[in-house]
């Protein structure tokens, strides 16, 4: 490729819209990006919080019923001992994957477009993991004993059973949660310092001052920060793959037709990224409008995310095809029946919905206009979220409804508590997110500033060049 400088228009034509519109100066960036945090409380925001609190109350009531009366308040039964609980768990964990992928893997691959959305995605990861982590605990028959899954030197000398995938889950999720928190918080520190510096009230200065751990922006600080951030990115990268792989083992190591599938790890990881990007999209499109982030979150970002969704959506579709192929190829009647049951059984509408949402919907992203249309993206991302939830439900609950011995077959119907834990957790997630948008800088200001400088220095199109080329 020629290194001859191109005009902005040329680049735009070749690469789509820029990752940063215009060349605002540092002060303008700080002001505009901190405006949601430091500005006055908006009515719309309060109304949204109020609405979400209603959902959260439903969630709390459902939790109280679950914990005090038992999980019999759910619709689970024998044979469907796992249903909404684990479906929700896997769904939330999957959603969490986008954050880590954007922050860590795209960082390592030096994808500049990640810059303005990474914190947003990380926060989403964090809240999604928090929601996800709840389910394995409350779904226990005796949740107060959840710590028995943790290997600790008990006087009873009884250890967890390491053959079971569930203790692996404990490690995977707790590691993932911890690293996500660290990664997110480390990235926040310079911006917390910015917020401290520009805050107008004393209280805020103190709070942000404490939160920013005395960041002064010295070269040494930056050096340590860079090392730490890269290290954490390196640590997080395998987690993107490992967490959902291990979650998929919960099913793959069993012998239930529909669960017992070796394709699960890659298929689950692809699905996780698929749903995670869809969730980022679902949240980003309204947030971008409401908080005026269009300058830093440009159609370019949206388009790139749409491309990721298209790619992972195709992987997921491949997974569906392969599951069916293997079921046929295995010549195992039970296996074949399990997949036939998806098409013809009592829950076939959920399966059709899943196919529509996960296979057909992302196909619109082959079209440039669709990738650039906020409306299409928003609707598609919601459909994908629904579809991915349906996928987990079909895998987990529908497989359980029809296993080996026909006499034990039974269907599953959710109760109001099941719905409360699903709708309520979405509300809680939303509430946390809305609070995050209000009180913390959702766009990494310093990174955008850095990006602006890089763009200024190297000119547009520079992100096509590797570091070596740049040095030359």
């Amino acid at each position: 490729m020629s290194t001859a400088p191109k005009t902005l228009e040329e680049v735009d034509a070749l690469e789509g819209s820029p990752v940063l519109v215009g060349r605002p100066d540092d002060r303008a960036l700080s002001e505009s990006l901190l405006e949601p945090v430091l500005g006055p409380t908006r009515k719309g925001w309060l109304m949204l919080v109020g609405a979400l609190l209603v959902g959260v109350s439903y969630w709390i009531v459902s939790l109280i019923f679950t914990l005090f009366l038992g999980i019999g308040t759910w619709g689970n039964n024998i044979p469907v001992a796992w249903a909404y609980d684990i479906t929700n768990f896997v769904w939330w964990i999957g959603i969490g994957h986008a954050g880590t992928l954007i922050s860590a893997i795209l960082l390592l691959f030096q994808q500049r477009w990640r810059t303005s959305i990474n914190r947003f995605a990380e926060a989403m990861t964090l809240f999604a993991v928090a929601m996800a982590g709840l389910y394995p605990i409350i779904h226990l028959g005796r949740p107060w004993l959840f710590w028995w899954l943790i290997p600790y030197p008990a006087t009873t000398q009884v250890w967890p059973n390491f053959k079971s995938a569930l203790p692996w889950d404990v490690f995977a999720i707790s590691t993932y949660g911890t690293v996500s928190v660290l990664f997110w918080y480390l990235g926040l520190i310079p911006d917390l310092a910015t917020a401290r510096d520009v805050a107008k009230t004393r209280a805020r200065r103190i709070v942000y001052g404490i939160l920013s751990f005395g960041w002064r922006g010295s070269a040494r600080h930056w050096q340590h920060y860079r090392i730490g951030y890269l290290l954490l990115a390196g640590l997080s990268t395998p987690l993107v793959v490992s967490v959902h792989t291990i979650v998929s083992f919960d099913f793959a190591i069993s012998q239930l037709p529909g669960w017992h599938t070796t394709i699960f790890p890659p298929y689950f990881v692809a699905g996780a990224i698929f749903s995670g990007f869809a969730m980022v999209m679902t949240l980003m499109i309204p947030a971008r409008r409401a908080f005026g982030y269009q300058q830093v979150v440009t159609p370019r970002h949206l388009e790139n995310m749409a491309k990721v969704m298209l790619a992972t959506g195709l992987m997921v579709s491949y997974g569906y095809v392969m599951e069916h192929f293997i079921a046929w190829y295995s010549a195992n009647g039970n296996e074949q029946f399990a997949f036939l049951n998806r098409w013809t059984g009592d829950y076939k509408w959920i399966w059709y919905m899943q196919l529509f949402c996960n296979v057909l919907t992302p196909q619109v992203f082959w079209f440039r206009w669709a990738r650039r249309s906020e409306v299409v993206l928003f609707v598609a991302s919601i459909l994908i979220n629904v579809g991915m939830w349906a996928e987990r439900f079909v895998i987990i609950a529908v497989s359980l409804t029809r296993d080996f011995v026909p006499s034990s077959w039974a269907n599953y119907y959710p109760t109001w508590v099941d719905w409360g834990l699903l709708i309520g957790s979405i509300s809680m997630f939303g509430l946390l997110f809305v609070l995050f948008l209000r009180f913390l800088p959702a766009i990494p200001i310093f990174e955008v500033k850095e990006l602006r400088r890089e763009l200024e220095h190297y000119g547009p199109g520079v992100h096509h060049q590797g570091p070596a080329e740049v040095a030359r």
Binding site: W82, H139, L140, G141, N161, I253, L256, P406
Partner: protein, 1012 residues
């Protein structure tokens, strides 16, 4: 724990009493007089001379006579362990023989008791009606005992009475009837064979010659006895000898599960279901029954078509098989039925003297008479069927008496009606207006266990003591008697039927125990007890006395009778008689039979769980899946798929059933194999007066049942109401989806099926290391013979009672959360119209490579050295992963705290050897590990190994068909080892490599090649 309110028995005087206290409250208040009626009999007359020494004597004696301790109480009292007797080890249960009434006859039981607390009802192996087995209904008796809502005390109008006052008032009432010789005194009782009750009835009739006893039960054996009267001129009891019957034709008789000595029938029938010994069973019936499910050929026909079919068989026997005697009885049928009849007749005739025709209890007398005639002509009488004088009294009056009684009451001819039959106001035919009539009776005295419609209408009600609290006696069908002995003193103030009837002859204050015992003293020909050597107090209280008494020879006989559960009598009470069939009368009865009307037929049958309704408040029976439909907690109008289609009805639709101007709304249930144009209506549900358990569930089929159609009748109208409801059915899928689950083969296929069966047994290739159990002393295993299993679900209930399995209620059953560790799966083979059926008991199969174990994150389910798949409740956190990975889905989860809300008295039925599981833990079949451990303790103490067949789990013990066998697979002598090596053995889901310890034996059918 709050006080249970258990009365503690003892005497009320003497120095001992001063030190004794019942409750902490009493201890603080100081001893008080017992409230009136605290003790059922005579307690107010406190005997003197009861000393510590005599007390210990009694305790020592009772302890020494293992198995007899309850039989020799001081006076009528049962002695609790106020001071622990030295020879009794707490935590070691004892067992007592007793009996319950099954259609008036004795069914011998052995009841397990823990320090005076009965917990488990089992069959008495020595009793001819049980042979060690017990059906679900009998086993559920123990739950009734601890029903917190049972009646207590005696009440006349609005006055609560003590037992003494009640007795005084009963005596006064009786005296009032003396002047007209009891012309206005009537008794409504259940048919019974009790010699004591027979004596009392005789004495009552001596005192009141114009009084009358009318027997009534909802679905008794009246038609059978009437049929015998037609055939033989007198009501005789047909006792089947199925062991010798090669070919059996059942004319809608459910002889394996309901009628006759069904437990014995099942035992000997099952013994003939092994290859080489196969008999052949033809069943002609409308609704699918347990017997129909065991048939080689099941002919689906409406109940009213059974008689023409039987006549067609008779005609074929006469025409083609040369039994000329039957010619006047036969009548040819349509071409379809004629082909079947010809084949059946040929088969019956081929096995002359080794065949059997059985008529069902619901079939009219003419069918019974015809069956008797066919058995006679085939030379079966005396060989496969024996006729005995019935031991129940007024054997034929049963049923007809009720209408007569109603007429008398309507005419104002009855002043006092004593009701000991179960809830006749509910069970009476719809055209007998007993409900309105009872108000016309001045004194209606009702003895009942629970509140019901009859109790509410009564002017004088008496709480009935539970069977396990009562003395009594009953005879088996072969005439042998059993003394009913109590296991516990009455938990609530109550009386027995003997007490009540005795009150009418001035013996009410003697108490059941003495009446029964003295009766047997006389019946066995012993003289009166020798007088004590000295002391006036001792004379009134011979056993309690510390004065020496000379030995009473009767005591030994009495104790032996109690211990064995059978009385040794010199002369059998119901001898086998030879009876000749009067073909003329049979022909006359057949000729008088009504022609077959068209239209929908209504059939009234006993429910397999609640029977005629008396099990309605028993949660175990309510939750026990029906052996055929797997329906729980309610009844439903059952009809065939084709009829349902014609009427536009689906399972769960609410339909309006009307017949003769009466109507009732019921849920519909489509049952494969049901006869077309016939609707089966199980009785016993929809009770208006009910407790929390029954809860008014189901519909009242009695509302449509009239005197002329007690078992079936035509003229049923069915309309859809448009409503739907959900039925609590535990098995939603009756097909096997083409999988090898419950295997059944025809006898001739079996030798060729080895290759096919080999795919379902033997070692499966694996890369996993396998545990070698050959070095262990014990390798526990089970074998379930599907060929023997009749699907009666006795095992399910035995497991429930043994293992403290909770009931969960209808809503939870609909949510598929029933807790039965052992379920009996029923599969239909063939088309929905006329399928064959296989029943398959399925509990944890204790896989050697258990899929549940490796997925448990906390090691809560692990393997024992002897190969048991163990569940550690304490360790379980409730991830339920084990259940998800269990291919047999036999694990059960405590979704709620099922036990927390139980009243303390209900908790008394728990087996102390078995943990009561908390909320949030998984549970499943343990192979009755508590029984294994108990056997191990016994063996260790004796310094030996556990015998090969020594451990019998609850399911195997209850199974009437001996289909379930448990034992040590490492002992080649054990029964289970032989069965595991049987040619019919296969492993369920063998291809998964789970290596289950429970093996199944293929069901073998023996179809008639002519009907292929």
């Amino acid at each position: 724990m709050p006080p249970l309110g258990l009365p503690i028995y003892g005497q009320t005087s003497g120095s001992l009493e001063a030190r004794r206290w019942r409750t902490l409250e009493e201890r603080e208040r100081g001893p008080q007089d017992p409230p009136p009626g605290e003790f059922p009999e005579n307690a107010q007359e406190a005997p003197g001379g009861f000393t510590r020494r005599s007390f210990l004597q009694v305790l020592g004696a009772s302890a020494a006579l293992a198995g007899l301790e309850a039989c020799q109480p001081p006076r009528e009292k049962l002695i609790p362990y106020v001071r622990p007797p030295e020879a009794v080890t707490p935590s070691v249960p004892s067992a007592y023989a007793t009996a319950t009434s099954d259609r008036g006859y004795a069914l011998g039981l052995v009841v397990t008791s823990w320090e005076g607390r009965p917990t488990k009802v089992e069959g008495n192996p020595d009793h001819p009606a049980s042979l060690g087995a017990a059906d679900a209904v009998r086993q559920a008796l123990v739950l009734d005992l601890y029903d917190p809502r049972r009646l207590a005390g005696f009440r006349r109008g609005r006055r609560d009475l003590s037992w003494t006052t009640a007795l005084a008032e009963l005596s006064a009432l009786a005296r009032g009837h003396e002047k007209d010789q009891g012309a206005r005194l009537r008794f409504l009782v259940e048919p019974t064979s009790s010699p004591t009750l027979a004596d009392l009835r005789r004495r009552i009739l001596e005192r009141f010659p114009r009084a009358r006893f009318d027997a009534w039960s909802a679905l008794g054996d009246r038609e059978a006895r009437e049929g015998a009267r037609i055939a033989f001129g007198r009501p005789l009891e047909a006792v089947l000898a199925l062991a010798d019957a090669d070919v059996v034709l059942s004319l809608e008789s459910d002889f394996l599960a309901v009628v006759g000595d069904h437990l014995r029938h099942a035992r000997v029938f099952a013994a003939r279901r092994e290859p080489g010994k196969l008999n052949r069973l033809y069943v002609a019936e409308a609704g699918y029954t347990v017997t129909g499910g065991s048939a080689d050929h099941r002919f689906r026909m409406r109940s009213q078509e059974v008689l023409p079919f039987a006549r067609a068989v008779a005609a074929e026997l006469a025409k083609a098989q040369g039994l000329e005697k039957l010619a006047p009885l036969g009548a040819a049928a349509g071409a379809d039925r004629a082909r079947l009849a010809a084949a059946v007749a040929k088969d019956l005739s081929r096995a002359r003297g080794r065949s059997l025709v059985v008529a069902g209890a619901g079939q009219p007398a003419a069918v019974h008479a015809l069956a008797a005639a066919m058995n006679d002509a085939l030379g079966n009488a005396g060989k496969t069927v024996a006729y005995r004088e019935p031991a129940v009294f007024d054997p034929s009056g049963e049923g007809t008496g009720l209408s007569a009684l109603a007429r008398e009451i309507a005419a104002g001819g009855v002043d006092t009606l004593v009701v000991t039959a179960w809830n006749p106001l509910y069970t009476a035919p719809a055209d007998v207006p007993l409900r309105t009539l009872l108000a016309k009776v001045k004194s209606s005295i009702v003895l009942a266990y629970r509140d019901d419609e009859t109790v509410r209408a009564a002017t004088f009600r008496l709480a009935r003591a539970h069977l396990l609290e009562s003395w009594g006696d009953l005879r088996a069908r072969d005439g042998r008697a059993t003394v009913i002995q109590p296991l516990i003193s009455p938990l609530k103030e109550s009386a027995t039927e003997v007490d009540l009837l005795a009150a009418f002859v001035g013996m009410g204050d003697r108490g059941t125990y003495r009446i029964v015992k003295d009766g047997w003293r006389a019946r066995l020909g012993f003289g009166p007890p020798p007088p004590p050597t000295a002391g006036s107090a001792a004379a009134g209280n011979p056993v309690d006395s510390n004065k020496a008494t000379p030995p009473d020879p009767f005591e030994r006989a009495w104790e032996e009778a109690l211990a064995a559960g059978l009385v040794k009598e010199a002369r059998p009470a119901s001898p086998v008689v030879t009876a000749t069939v009067d073909a003329g009368r049979v022909a006359q009865a057949l000729g008088a039979a009504r022609p077959e009307p068209a239209g929908l037929e209504a059939r009234f049958v006993l429910d397999y769980g609640v029977e005629d309704g008396r099990g309605y408040e028993n949660a175990w029976l309510q939750e026990l899946p029906d052996p055929v439909t797997k329906l729980t907690w309610e009844n439903a109008a059952m009809l065939s798929p084709q009829t349902a289609k014609r009427l536009g009805i689906a399972s769960g639709d609410r339909i309006e059933l009307s017949r003769g101007g009466r109507s009732v709304a019921a849920p519909a249930l489509v049952v494969p194999g049901h006869a077309d144009d016939s609707v089966t209506l199980p009785l016993g549900y929809g009770q208006k007066v009910h407790g929390a358990v029954g809860g008014g569930a189901g519909f009242d089929a009695y509302a449509l049942r009239t005197s002329d159609a007690l078992a079936f009748g035509s003229g049923l109208q069915v309309t859809r109401t448009g409503d739907r409801g959900e039925l609590a059915i535990t098995q939603g899928h009756f097909g096997m989806a083409g999988r090898a689950i419950a295997l059944a083969l025809d006898a001739e296929e079996l030798p060729k099926a080895k290759a096919e069966l080999d795919e379902h047994r033997g070692a499966e290739a694996t890369i996993l290391g396998q545990v070698d159990y050959s070095g262990q002393d014990y390798r526990w295993g089970m074998a379930i013979d599907l060929s023997r299993c009749i699907g009666c679900a006795a095992c399910t209930l035995a497991c429930q009672a043994e293992n403290n399995i909770p009931v969960v209620g209808k809503k939870q059953v609909i949510r598929s959360r029933e807790m039965h560790w052992l379920r009996v799966d029923r599969y239909f083979e063939g088309g929905a119209e006329d399928p064959k059926s296989v029943s398959q008991p399925l509990a944890c199969v204790h896989c050697e490579m258990a899929p549940c174990e490796y997925v448990c994150p906390v090691n809560a389910t692990v393997h024992s050295d002897e190969g048991l798949n163990e569940m550690v409740y304490n360790r379980c956190v409730g991830t339920r992963y084990c259940s998800n990975n269990c291919p047999y889905k036999v694990r059960r989860f405590n979704w709620f705290d099922w036990h927390g809300t139980l009243e303390p008295i209900v908790k008394m039925h728990w087996n102390p050897d078995v943990t009561v599981r908390a909320r949030g833990v998984m549970e499943k079949c343990t192979y009755c590990i508590q029984r294994i451990e108990r056997a191990r303790i016994g063996a260790r103490v004796a310094g030996r190994k556990i015998g090969p067949d020594e451990v019998v789990p609850a399911c195997a013990q209850a199974c009437p068909a001996e289909a379930i066998v448990f034992g040590n697979l490492n002992d080649p002598a054990s029964k289970v080892s032989h069965l595991h090596a049987d040619e019919r053995r296969y492993d369920l889901l063998h291809e998964l490599g789970t290596r289950p310890r429970t093996a199944y034996l293929v069901r073998v059918r023996n179809p008639n090649p002519e009907l292929a």
